[in-house]
Every structure is written in C-alpha cells, then in structure tokens.
C-alpha cells in the first residue's frame, strides 16, 4: 500500500478539489483520509454516509464536585490559566481556559477536583458516493489541534487500506507547517505539494518543502493558477529545481474549481476541459513516481 499526502501550506490553492479529483481517478484503488480536521471540506464533494462515528478524546479537563468543595480558593490561586472563576459564590472551571494540567487537583485539600477526558472531536468512517472509504474527523471547538486526531485519521485509514488490499491511500493533508501537518506527512510514501504563484504561496511552499525534506520524504509539486503571475511561477520553478522536486503540472487559472464545488462535484467529474485533462495526467505521473 502506498500513501500519498496532498498538502499546500496555508490554503486557498485548490488542494481539496485536486485531492478529491485524484480520488475519483483512483476509483476502487483508493482509500481517502481527510486530515484537514480543523475545517474539513472533502465531505461536501463526496457525500459520505457517516456510517461509523466515535468520540475522540485528548488531554484532560478539570471539574469541581461542588458538594466536596470547601471554597478554600487554593485551586484558583495555583491555576496559571485563569480557568477557575468564582460564579455565584462557587468555584467553577472555565472549560475554554482549562489547560488540563491537573495542578488544581494536586492542591485541593478535599479532593473535590476530578480530571475528565477532554472531548477533542468526532471521528468518522464513511462510504462515499463513489463507493470508496473516507476516513474523516471534526475537531471540537477550541480544541488543541496537536496532531493527535490527524494521526488517528491516518492510522485508521491505513488499516482499512491494508486490510482490504487497496493499493493507495490518498490523504488531504493538514494546513500550515505546524504539528498537524507533521502528523499528516510522517512516514508517507509521496507528498504532493499544491501551490500557487503568489508571494504567500511561494513563501508557504518553501517552508513546507523544507519540512518535508527534513523527513526525507519524496515529493512532487503542482502549480495551480500558474498563469496568474509569470514571475513568481519562475521563482517557484527555480526553487523546485534547487530542491530537486519534480514539477508535475501547471494548471491555469480557471473558475471551473468554484463551479465544480457549486455543483457538488469534483473537477474531473464536472468537466472534461483542460484542467481535468491536466489532473488526469498528474494522477498518472503520481502513480509512476510512487511506484518507482
């Protein structure tokens, strides 16, 4: 089984549309994982059935059992996160602020503080309208995206691919360059970087490429909206040359991306135009490279 992760740095480059198109092209040979758990969009194109749903817990959160509390205020004194306000003369935990450090519980003289598992999100395994499996998740509001949920999504998707002898796992990677993206690329076989020729696109992709290089993972690049700024496209190419990252496609600026999303379809299903052709060729190239 080969794992292909699509990432882009900050977003707005068409990453999810391209990833979903690759999934359509891969058809039965593909399991999909949406690791953009902060703002997952893949489900909008693929109509998953949310067949399997489970809660995902990460870290701890404090709770004060009021009956046991003698209102000594020690918990409030030690908490460095302003998470113990006094409301209606009761010491309570502000869940949005509580970091889960447990310091309050150590100092409470009556053991009135219990530490509960912190709900960090929902995790799903679905059948999509393409009849392949999508593993996805939704981070809870104000949860800490440390990469744990991303790891869970990837691990489960991998398991499904291996158990069913499905040759490819396509991962819609996390945005940014922090922990979640590290969690979405480590140990994969190929990273597909989707970028665009804008000052921020170039900036993001160079950060991302450096990160991937550190992990020693093979990568290829795809420039979307390539004709929007010829100068920066040249700079991107120079960068790719220097890092020996193959450029597998240049997609022109095209509103077909937005139109396809509006129609609830992937680009390759929605149109047979130039962009779809380029994505088809890219998929072939990706398969060649990942099989090498």
């Amino acid at each position: 089984m080969k794992e292909i992760v699509v990432i882009s740095g900050k977003g707005g480059t068409g990453k999810t549309s391209i990833t979903a198109s690759l999934a359509v092209l891969g058809d039965k040979d593909v399991v999909l994982a949406d690791c953009d758990v902060d703002a997952a969009d893949m489900h909008l194109l693929l109509n998953p059935d949310f067949a399997h749903k489970e809660k995902f817990y990460s870290g701890k959160i404090a709770e004060i059992i009021q009956d046991d509390c003698i209102k000594c205020g020690k918990c409030k004194d030690v908490c460095r996160f302003d998470a113990v306000p006094v409301i209606n003369e009761q010491y309570v935990i502000d869940e949005l602020n509580c970091e889960g450090c447990e310091y309050c519980a150590y100092v409470c003289p009556t053991n009135a503080i219990v530490m509960n598992d912190n709900l960090a999100g929902d995790f799903f395994i679905s059948e999509t309208r393409l009849n392949n499996t999508l593993v996805h998740a939704k981070l809870a509001i104000a949860a800490d995206n440390s990469g744990k949920l991303v790891t869970k999504v990837r691990t489960e998707a991998k398991k499904i691919a291996e158990e069913n002898d499905i040759p490819y796992l396509i991962v819609d990677g996390s945005p940014g360059i922090g922990c979640p993206v590290v969690a979405s690329v480590t140990g994969s076989n190929l990273v597909v970087i989707v970028t665009e020729p804008t000052v921020s696109g170039l900036h993001d992709m160079s950060r991302v490429a450096e990160l991937i290089r550190k992990f020693g993972i093979k990568s290829v690049c795809l420039i979307n909206k390539a004709d929007i700024n010829a100068d920066i496209t040249i700079q991107i190419k120079k960068f790719l040359d220097k890092y020996e990252i193959p450029l597998i496609a240049e997609i022109p600026y095209d509103l077909v991306f937005a139109d396809a999303i509006l129609a609830g379809k992937t680009v390759v299903e929605y149109s047979n135009g130039e962009v779809s052709q380029i994505i088809r060729d890219s998929w072939k190239r990706i398969l060649e490279i990942v099989r090498e």
Binding site: K10, T16, D38, L44, V78, E99, Y103, A142, P175, G178
Partner: protein, 292 residues
C-alpha cells in the same frame, strides 16, 4: 477599539482584507478622525501579513515563557515530580530529572510541588515580536514563534499585552487571527469587540464559515461577515447570514486584476477604486456595529 479578522480556513482572503483595511484607515486617518491605526499579525506560527506591507523596523522584543530548570544539587530524588506533568515535559529517571521545554505548558505544577525548590521556573525564549512603522503611518506588529516551539497561546497573550500597553483605547486595532477554530484563535479573539469573518461564496466557504460562527457563538462574540471573491459562487452565504442574523458588512468583488495584485504582494486599494470603495463601506459598517 479592537477588532479581529478571522476565518474558518486559510486562503479565504483574511490577510488581504486585514492589510487593505488597515492601510485604508491609515491613509484616511485625518478624514476619519482616527488617532492611530495598528495592524497585528497574530498568526504567530506563520505570520505573512508582512509580505504585503513593508515598513521601517522600530522595535524588536524577544518574548519568553517560563519553564522549569532542574537544579541537581538541590534535588533529593524524592520522586514527587515523577508523574506530576500532564504534558510529558518532565521525566524522572532515578539518576536525574529531564525537562523537555518544547512540551512544557508552563503550568508551574512541578516547580511549586517540588519540596526542595529544585525545579525553579526560568525564562525560555519562544519567539520575537517586531514593531514596524509603515509609510502611510500604519503601525504593524508581528510576532513569530521560534521553530520547534509548539505553544502559540503564550506568545499571542504577550502580544496582546504589548499592544494594550503601547496603544490606548483611541487607537484602531486590527488583529489578523490565525485560521481555524482551535486554541490560538480563541486566545486571539478573546478581547476583540467584533470578529469579522471572511469567507468565499461557495459551499466550502459556507461550511468553513459555519464552523467559525459556531466558535464565536460559543465565545459570545459579536461577529460580522465579509464575502471575498464575490461573484464566483452562489448566494447561500447571504441566506445563511440573513437567517442567523449575522450582519454581512461587505462583498469584495472577484476580479482577475485583484488576484494578480495579490499574487504580487500589492495592496488592492491603491489600484482598484471599486475595492477601495468596498473597504470604505466595510470600515463604516464596522464603526456602526462596534458603537451599537
């Protein structure tokens, strides 16, 4: 006045709006009767507003957070600290105590629970704050986390403290928030009087907007919506805003010219009058909302 600009996902034009709005107010300061304008890039993991505005560096401050340091000579190997740390930042291994500063959440538990004072907290560098002054009089502040530091919240907190001490109530403060709905976003918008959410008129945009609105509701924040790239999609965002009583305070039209200027890292308001007018209206709408 403090307003935050946020979005459920990166790449919606949040930074474009923040930079153009701030520059517009700075240029029109006299007419608008504004004392000072401050733009703050709180996307500390990956600040990139600076790609769009260039100015003169006025001040650099190194920012620190507190982490414990093990003093071997004081330690009696009492083992009390062995299982205190909920973030695995401290390991007690019999012959010594190891601290992993990058995992530490600065909760002080180990430090204050140590009976021998063998784990005093000391300052540890986490990043840098830079203050620039731009030609048009705009103050620009950018904080950047050092590579390898995972806790964004403390730096965001200190950046808020910096702007609150440097500028008074009369200044118009625009905070460019990180994307998403996780902890750093919560910390960023905490004391904003209004959160402006930027989205695109597509199903992806609407989905991400809903996530952002839910988060702001949870925080009891007043919000408003701006549609970017208006014209590429449908009017579902308008409907959603109307149904949920969220003011839609501006639509930035989709223009090839704008995409190009953005790609070059240029301001839109300097070259496109139509967009300058939209920004002008957005400003007056914000003023109305914050007063009312």
């Amino acid at each position: 006045m403090k307003i935050a600009i946020a979005s459920g996902k990166g790449g919606t034009g949040k930074t474009t709006l923040a930079v153009n709005l701030a520059s517009y107010i700075a240029e029109e300061k006299r007419n608008l009767n504004v004392q000072e304008v401050v733009l703050v890039d709180m996307d500390v993991e990956e600040p990139n507003s600076g790609l769009f505005i260039k100015g003169e560096l006025k001040k650099t401050e190194i920012k620190y957070r507190m982490v414990p340091e093990w003093i071997e000579s004081k330690c009696t190997f009492c083992k009390k600290c062995a299982n205190v740390c909920n973030f695995n930042a401290l390991a007690y291994i019999g012959v010594s105590v190891l601290i992993f500063p990058e995992l530490c959440h600065s909760c002080y538990a180990c430090s204050e629970l140590c009976p021998e004072d063998a784990l005093p907290m000391k300052a540890d560098r986490m990043g840098e704050l830079r203050q620039y002054i731009i030609k048009n009089g705009l103050h620009f502040i950018e904080s950047r986390l050092d590579i390898g530091i995972e806790q964004a919240v403390p730096l965001i907190k200190q950046t808020h403290e910096f702007i609150d001490s440097e500028f008074d109530e009369t200044a118009f403060k625009i905070i460019d928030s990180p994307p998403g709905t996780s902890c750093p976003v919560i910390e960023t918008v905490k004391d904003a009087e209004l959160v402006v959410l930027v989205t695109e008129p597509t199903p992806f945009g609407l989905n991400d907007l809903k996530l952002a609105v839910d988060t702001m509701k949870e925080l009891d924040k007043k919000c408003a919506v701006i549609v970017n790239r208006d014209g590429i999609g449908n009017d579902d965002v308008d409907k959603y805003c109307a149904e949920n009583n969220i003011p839609l305070i501006g639509k930035i039209p989709h223009m090839h010219e704008a995409a190009k200027l953005y790609s070059q890292g240029n301001l839109l308001i300097d070259d496109i009058d139509e967009i300058r007018d939209v920004i002008k209206d957005i400003y007056s709408n914000i003023k109305k909302l914050v007063k009312g």
